[in-house]
């Protein structure tokens, strides 16, 4: 390494010819220009078409030019580089469009009135109305689901990490993995089959139960990861002082990993807050404020979006976009705060 800095810079005779650094950009610019030119000449109107022509020209051009100046291998490398860039740009377009259209169309009717009023006497075709009842329903359903799923999930993770040996632990690990993959609508159908058996009408807590089923495995997995990060020396030090195991877990292991556990639970909450399918089956939706999750149909934000979309009215679309923006904001804030906590409270694994 040190000799390289001493040797004066001069062109190496061992290296073949290289394209200059600006070459990829020049080829890209050239192919975009050619793509635009061709589509203008041929009278094509679609944006996709000139972009497609430009992309194909870019890849072909890169290969031909690089193969001529450098060699085949370098040419292949450059083609893959441009393919990877094209794939990235291709994926950015829809994702950016999703965020952009939600923000742009969502801000149209989103204001304090919208957040503090229900759809009580507002027809779908009328302007006005709001999502207060839906926010209330979502908060209650998700809150109850968290109350059930968080303790069960954390305790299961404690069992797996601190006690778990043998067949039971292996079975639990396996089925937690399997549970992670349950489609949300299947969890909804399960609770529905219970409700059919007892002849019950839709109510908020039924949705909470289905959401809790979806949330448990996520909490278990993330808590497990966090508990495994707690150094064994801490446990041993506590046990060596004669502290019972359960107190060691409560006073040493959990406080050490509480940041990560909180993060995991918040990410799980963010995930179930957007679930629509189980809520559609079990909570049914309502236009009115219903603050009792144990009786009667309730609304929920994702379900509200679906039903407003389903009504097919322009004013309802506006409300659906505004509710989407609210839901995304809620989920994103949870995510950001959770990740903030994770960074702030990260257990120091080293000394």
């Amino acid at each position: 390494m040190s000799t390289a800095t001493i040797t004066p810079k001069r062109p190496s005779t061992l290296r073949g010819a290289r394209l200059p650094k600006w070459a990829p950009w020049a080829i890209a610019a050239g192919s975009v220009a050619a793509g635009l030119g061709i589509s203008a000449a041929a009278g094509l109107h679609s944006d996709i078409q000139w972009a497609l022509i430009a992309a194909v020209l870019h890849i072909l051009g890169t290969y031909v030019i690089a193969a001529k100046v450098e060699n085949r291998r370098q040419a292949k490398d450059r083609v893959v580089t441009s393919l990877v860039w094209v794939a990235f740009l291709l994926a950015v377009v829809p994702l950016a469009s999703l965020v952009w259209s939600t923000v742009q169309r969502g801000t149209k009717v989103l204001d304090v009135y919208f957040l503090t009023h229900s759809m009580g006497v507002v027809a779908d075709s009328e302007a006005g109305g709001g999502i207060y009842h839906a926010i209330l329903g979502t908060l209650q359903q998700v809150g109850l689901a968290t109350l059930i799923a968080a303790p069960v999930g954390v305790l299961t993770a404690i069992y797996l990490v601190e006690y778990g040996r043998g067949n039971l632990a292996r079975a639990v690990t396996f089925f937690v993995d399997v549970m992670t993959g349950i489609p949300s609508i299947v969890a909804g159908l399960f609770i529905l089959s219970l409700m059919l058996m007892f002849d019950m009408q839709p109510f908020g807590f039924a949705g909470s139960l289905a959401l809790a089923i979806l949330m448990m495995p996520v909490v278990v997995r993330s808590t497990e990861e966090m508990l495994k990060l707690v150094p064994n020396e801490l446990r041993e030090a506590s046990l060596a002082l004669g502290v019972p195991k359960w107190r060691t877990i409560l006073k040493v292991v959990l406080p050490t990993s509480i940041g990560g556990i909180t993060t995991g639970i918040m990410l799980a909450v963010a995930r179930i807050a957007g679930e629509t399918a189980p809520v559609l089956l079990l909570v049914f939706g309502s236009k009115f404020i219903n603050a009792n999750p144990f009786e009667g149909a309730q609304a929920s934000l994702p379900l509200y979006i679906y039903q407003q979309y389903g009504s097919g009215e322009a004013t309802a679309y506006d409300r659906a976009w505004a509710a989407s923006l609210t839901l995304i904001a809620f989920v994103m804030i949870l995510n950001l705060v959770a990740r903030g906590i994770a960074r702030w409270k990260a257990p120091s694994t080293g000394r």
């Binding site: 679609s46 996709i48 078409q49 292949k76 490398d77 580089t81 990877v84 990235f88 994926a91 829809p94 999703l98 259209s101 939600t102 303790p151 069960v152 999930g153 069992y159 601190e162 039971l168 079975a171 639990v172 089925f175 937690v176 993995d177 399997v178 549970m179 992670t180 993959g181 349950i182 489609p183 609508i185 299947v186 159908l189 399960f190 089959s193 059919l196 058996m197 089923i213 448990m216 495995p217 996520v218 993330s222 019972p244 195991k245 359960w246 877990i249 409560l250 957007g274 629509t276 399918a277 089956l281 994702p302 979006i305 679906y306 979309y309 679309y317 839901l327 995304i328 994103m332 950001l336």
Partner: protein, 333 residues
């Protein structure tokens, strides 16, 4: 403990009974016993829930299927309100599989390319924030994707469909009779966009863990960046990418709202991917549910059971592949 015992010669230690073994682990204190009971109970509760899901769904499904006048697997109809009821899952199974295949064909190569872009191509300063944003996008609720798909993506598909019909219509798969583009292809594309972030995230994690030595060895032999990727990164990451794709597939199979908002369903199998129609398990449940009678709901539960089994198989396969590399499990993604 008696002090006299110390003076006496210790008696030959008997083989430890199970209770003594447990005592050695310190589980005889009441606090410990309660705590162990609680945590083990939670684990058992999870198992009970899984068993209950399988059990209750099967029970209701059997109730429905026993009255089905058609063949549950091959009937092209869903008439649960009539007497005798005739319903079958042929169209739903076809639609679910086709839309998921389209989604995988589009999403997997692009997701792998983005993962490579983030780990090997993007400037360092860009790749961190981009990865963070993709993480966040994985958390966007599916109903929002559905709304966007129905109101933004669908109108956009007219151009693509026309183009496909003009140049590839002769294949029969891409012919289009100018219906609204609420077809399986649109659903597949939307599903691809939805599962892109999760496949990208898991693949990126795998690619990041490729031993530096492998890459440096390839570089030292004069490999170009593509050759490094082909010789050291992709072989190392193959099983991770496969399991990431399976996780994505599991999502695509069970996705409800995005399909329900975008697709305009019917109960026929269309050879063309561009003509509207068809259906998926989850979409059918969501759209038929509100008008279904109690028997109709049982029939929907029966179709849900099939979906449950399919996703179990897919996820089981993904887990089996992951098993060798535990840390890539996508449960946290």
């Amino acid at each position: 403990m008696d002090t006299t015992q110390i003076a006496d010669a210790p008696p030959p230690a008997p083989a430890p009974t199970p209770e003594q073994k447990r005592a050695a682990r310190g589980a005889t204190r009441p606090g410990d016993r309660i705590f162990l009971g609680l945590s083990r109970g939670s684990g058992i509760l999870l198992l009970v829930i899984m068993a209950a899901i399988a059990g209750f769904l099967t029970y209701r499904a059997v109730l429905a299927i026993s009255k089905d006048e058609g063949n549950f697997l091959t009937t092209f109809e869903w008439n649960t309100g009539v007497n005798p009821p005739v319903f079958g899952i042929a169209v739903l199974a076809y639609g679910t599989i086709i839309s998921s295949i389209i989604a995988m064909v589009i999403a997997v190569p692009i997701a792998v390319a983005i993962a490579l872009f983030l780990t090997h191509y993007a400037p360092r300063r860009l790749s961190g924030p981009i990865a963070y944003v993709i993480d966040l996008l994985a958390a966007v609720p599916s109903i929002v994707y559905g709304l966007w798909g129905a109101l933004v993506l669908v109108p956009y598909m007219n151009g693509l469909f026309g183009w496909l019909n003009d140049y590839l219509g002769w294949t029969g798969i891409f012919s289009w009779q100018n219906g609204a583009p609420r077809s399986m292809l649109t659903v597949g594309i939307l599903l691809a966009i939805m599962i892109l972030p999760i496949i990208t995230n898991v693949s990126r994690e795998v690619f990041r863990q490729v031993p530096q030595m492998h890459e440096e060895a390839a570089l030292a032999l004069g490999a170009t960046r593509w050759e490094v990727i082909r010789m050291s990164v992709l072989p190392f990451g193959r099983s991770g990418v496969i399991s990431a794709s399976m996780l994505g597939l599991g999502r695509a199979l069970g996705e409800t709202m995005a399909v329900a908002t975008v697709l305009s369903p019917d109960f026929l199998i269309h050879t063309s991917l561009l003509d509207p129609g068809g259906g998926t398990f989850a979409q059918n449940i969501a759209s038929k549910f509100s008008e279904a009678t109690e028997f109709g709901r049982d029939a929907l539960i029966a179709s849900g059971l099939v979906l449950f089994v399919i996703t179990l198989l897919v996820n089981g396969a993904a887990r089996a592949i992951i098993a060798r590399r535990k840390e890539y499990s996508g449960a946290n993604a």
